[in-house]
Point group: C2
Chain length 365, copies 2
């Protein structure tokens, strides 16, 4: 049988209300009474039933976190940064993997809402605008991470993917590179011909802010190329699915061409792994035979021969900032601070940093 507040009250010869006051460290309790109650609690090994408390208080002290896939360094760092700060404030996190599937994302969102979490941090697939809007209208606190959702007006914390890519490619051009290949990425594998590629590139300026991570990086690449009057070689623009295998496959394709690129810019870490493997298997030396640069710094980037130049994302700060905003929003709700005040959602964009190493130096001769 469960030991409830009632059992404690009876044993301590006080009312349940008094026990409840002691539990919540409510001041209006005589010291001797408090001690008596605490002793009883200890004797009985009583532990409060938070489920009941949550129901009564209409607050669960828990927040939901939906990430793409916790297996990747990017998302596990985000999860950790969120946990670090929320734990400090007494919140626990319910962690979900969307596996980049809109259907799974929707199920998780519903589950979190049904569990009445106090807030949600979501790295969105981009496909559940309707449901997310419904959540927002019902006053669920929500912060988007890394990506926006078209048609959703909501606080968000992003990375400046376009500028990160732009700076990297500009650096390559300054190094003297001309034939610069990009392995861009999209969650769903794009198999695109040159005609459609040109059309895509033309459309890149519309609805800018809702472009996804991979396309943003492509846009930065193109901006640097165009600014320097280099002709776009459409054969050097590839699309992977952000996974290792696609980086491997696409790199082999690039290396098979008659006109090879001088340098490859891979737009995330997993594809970079595959790409480096392909280069290694092709017996090419970096940077002598081919240059290399990739998005996402990693612990092993420095271990590769030679160490790899990367564009480093502020991953920890990304999650941390999102959590801070969420906690503030939650607090404001309980303080009734948000009445008709903050109509405009806050969208923060954090900068990347460029980590120059030896994989991207042109070797003359």
């Amino acid at each position: 049988m469960e030991i409830t507040i009632k059992v404690v009250a009876k044993k301590a010869k006080v009312s349940v209300a008094t026990v409840s006051r002691v539990l919540r460290k409510n001041p209006g309790v005589r010291d001797s009474t408090r001690k008596k109650v605490l002793k009883t609690i200890d004797d009985l090994n009583y532990e409060v039933n938070v489920v009941a408390r949550n129901l009564r208080q209409k607050k669960t002290n828990s927040i939901g976190v939906i990430v793409g896939n916790i297996l990747s360094q990017f998302y596990s760092t985000i999860a950790k940064s969120i946990e670090d700060i929320t734990t400090k404030y007494g919140y626990n996190i319910i962690l979900c993997n969307s596996d980049f599937s809109p259907e799974k994302e929707l199920l998780h969102l519903k589950m979190l809402n049904n569990n009445r979490v106090d807030g949600i941090i979501l790295t969105p697939t981009g496909k559940n605008a309707n449901y997310v809007n419904r959540l927002l209208k019902s006053d669920m606190k929500l912060v988007l991470l890394d990506r926006l959702i078209k048609g959703v007006n909501c606080d968000a914390v992003l990375v400046d993917n376009e500028n990160g890519a732009y700076q990297a490619v500009k650096y390559l051009i300054r190094q003297g590179y001309k034939d610069i290949s990009i392995i861009s990425g999209n969650i769903k594998n794009i198999n695109i011909d040159n005609y459609r590629l040109k059309k895509l590139i033309k459309a890149l300026n519309n609805e800018d802010i809702y472009l996804n991570t991979g396309i943003k990086r492509l846009k930065g690449y193109l901006r640097a190329i165009n600014e320097n009057d280099i002709n776009i070689n459409y054969d050097f623009i590839k699309f992977g699915n952000f996974k290792k295998e696609s980086g491997y496959k696409l790199t082999l394709e690039l290396l098979k061409k008659d006109i090879k690129p001088q340098v490859i810019f891979v737009t995330n870490i997993d594809m970079a792994l595959g790409s480096l493997l392909a280069i290694k298997e092709s017996n090419l030396k970096i940077p002598k035979d081919i240059g290399f640069i990739n998005f996402d710094d990693s612990e092993w980037s420095i271990l590769v021969d030679p160490p790899v130049t990367t564009i480093k994302q502020p991953v920890y700060r990304l999650g941390f900032t999102a959590a801070e905003i969420l906690l503030k929003n939650i607090k404001d709700r309980y303080d009734n601070k948000n009445i008709e005040l903050n109509n405009e959602p806050m969208v923060l964009t954090l900068s990347t940093s460029f980590v120059e190493r030896k994989s991207s130096k042109i070797i003359s001769g």
Copy 2:
């Protein structure tokens, strides 16, 4: 105002019980009624309050997972494997990082218990035997992962660390290596002199099963050494704290010695990273100048020059198996199956696999 089952009932002109039946897909509802209720639910955007349901059903459909640190590949893989299977059965997971601190672990255990999770999967620090026993006595379902707790009788899923290390070292000896160094690990950094090291080694056979991961691997190392009548060189036995920096520092120490080891066996991936960096900075070539082998396979092990021989843990299966056992235990409780039956806890030990690559081949001449 929250839309409750009561509001739905009134609008649909049925009782709350009927709505509840529809929600739970209870069969005893006429089809026309069900449709009417579902329509109302949809019209009102009603979503069940799981907090209330949990209170009533004394079941939360959530399980707690406490890992050391989600940032490491090992623990994030475990978290993912648990999520994969529990999601399938309708459970959500509350994820906690102990950061290897017994105090944090205890707080998280209490939080999970207070939230009345249906079960807990714990990678224990080993220090909270009393509280864990209290949980078990109160019929909390709990499965230990990767380590046991002294004084706790509980289902567990382990890795055969000793044999993994034993096989690796035996392999090295067969390769012709004699001066084999080990960088062992312990969560708290051990600074140990030779006298205490000898004492520790002598004590290794007592209370075998409660030895922690690092010590188990050391034990396997020693067994292989002893079986082959190689003299133990106590200077070749080092203790790190499983983190990159200690691997780096200890490797530099080893390489500074007059008599250097021929090969270094590093007992986890993070220390291996540091160790490889130290070797690289010392301008030594693997395996010509020094051999290398480490516990934990990684995606980048194959990318290093040369690819690194590793002892691979069945990480995904570790978490998966623990989750399966936990779910079965939870199910059995609701089926009242465990009445005086399974007194003996189930302790599974999964085998490692040896991945031979080029970092551990002695080069003659």
